[in-house]
């Protein structure tokens, strides 16, 4: 009876892993970039299945929320915001020579690390003192929010920094147009009034840049 369960688990793993690899390959190689982004989203949700097999349900939920919900949506946004990015006839694909070199190098990376995975004496079972699956989320939240709250704070800081950085980079050329004046309280800056009116009247070619 135990053996059947183990076999079933292994079949489950092999099915999910092969789907993940096929979807990752399609996400890289599909000629239409919108489909590539969609396949990436599907791949991320199947990786969440791998996390469920590893008995880490919170990580699986986070994977679906961030990768499938957030990052693949960001990639689709990037495709939609960049004009002509969806047109695959305009895209130049890699030459066969470059493709061969890339295949060789990535094959070396895979062989090296695969050899490490097979040769090194890894553990065969889960940790013996692992808590049951029902308690996993409760214990993880206790662990995360008590003495290890620094992880949450670092994550919050990184997200805040990236938001501020993204907005700053996008608005940088507008900031370059500001001229500094010496006001009453030190250096202030005002916008050039004429240029803003001129940009409003001109029909902008780029879609959704602002």
């Amino acid at each position: 009876m135990m053996q059947i369960e183990v076999l079933f688990e292994q079949i489950e793993f092999l099915a999910i892993a092969s789907i993940v690899i096929i979807l990752a390959f399609l996400a890289l190689e599909h000629r239409n970039i919108v489909y590539a982004a969609l396949f990436f989203g599907f791949m991320a949700s199947f990786v969440a299945g791998i996390f469920l097999l590893l008995e880490a349900p919170f990580i699986a939920g986070m994977q679906i929320a961030v990768y499938t919900g957030g990052i693949s949506a960001l990639i689709i946004f990037a495709v939609l915001l960049i004009p002509r990015a969806q047109d695959s006839s305009l895209e130049t694909f890699a030459t066969p020579r470059r493709r061969r070199i890339g295949l060789v190098i990535s094959g070396l990376v895979g062989l090296l690390s695969g050899g490490l995975a097979l040769v090194f004496p890894w553990y065969d079972t889960f940790a013996p003192d692992m808590p049951p699956l029902e308690l996993n989320m409760e214990l993880l939240s206790q662990w995360l929010w008590s003495e290890n709250v620094i992880y949450v704070q670092i994550a919050a800081l990184i997200l805040l920094t990236s938001i501020v950085g993204a907005i700053a980079i996008l608005k940088m050329d507008k900031a370059e147009r500001l001229i500094s004046i010496h006001g009453e309280f030190g250096i202030e800056s005002v916008e050039e009034p004429i240029e803003d009116e001129a940009t409003i009247e001109e029909p902008s070619e780029e879609v959704g840049d602002e």
Binding site: E9, F13, A17, V20, I21, A24, F25, L28, I33, F40, A44, V47, I50, L54, A56, F58, I59, M62, Q63, V66, Y67, G70, L74, I75, I82, P83, A85, T92, R98, R99, L103, S106, G110, G114, L116, A117, W122, D124, T125, A127, P128, D129, M130, P131, L139, L140, W143, L144, Y151, V152, I154, A155, I158, L159, T161, S162, G165, A166, M172, E206
Partner: protein, 106 residues
């Protein structure tokens, strides 16, 4: 029970695929997708090693929470940099000859 090496092999296949995509592709969006696939492979390896370690601790899962939020942050930044690149050079193809300094087309 699934041996740990299976998870590691899956993660290394994903890392190799992502590295292939990052090296071969010329479109910036595809390079970003390759980087994300590499990140997914690293996540699988981290969670698997932390779950299979001889004494259980939540450090691996806490680290993964950090890694996933960093991945979201760097994707947002990469998208903004792609938009800037497109605004400056009119393309997201890395193979087109460009100059890095200030030129007339900026």
């Amino acid at each position: 029970m699934i041996p740990l090496s299976w998870y590691l092999i899956l993660s290394f296949i994903l890392i190799a695929l992502g590295a292939y995509g990052m090296m071969v592709k010329r479109n910036l969006i595809r390079i970003l997708i390759g980087a994300e696939i590499m990140g997914n492979g690293v996540n699988i390896a981290l969670v698997a090693v932390s779950i299979y370690s001889p004494s259980f601790s939540f450090v691996g899962q806490g680290l993964i929470i950090l890694v996933i939020s960093v991945a979201a942050a760097h994707t947002a930044l990469a998208m903004v940099l792609m938009l800037m690149y497109h605004r400056r050079y009119g393309t997201v193809d890395l193979g087109t000859p460009i100059s890095l300094g200030d030129n007339e087309n900026v």
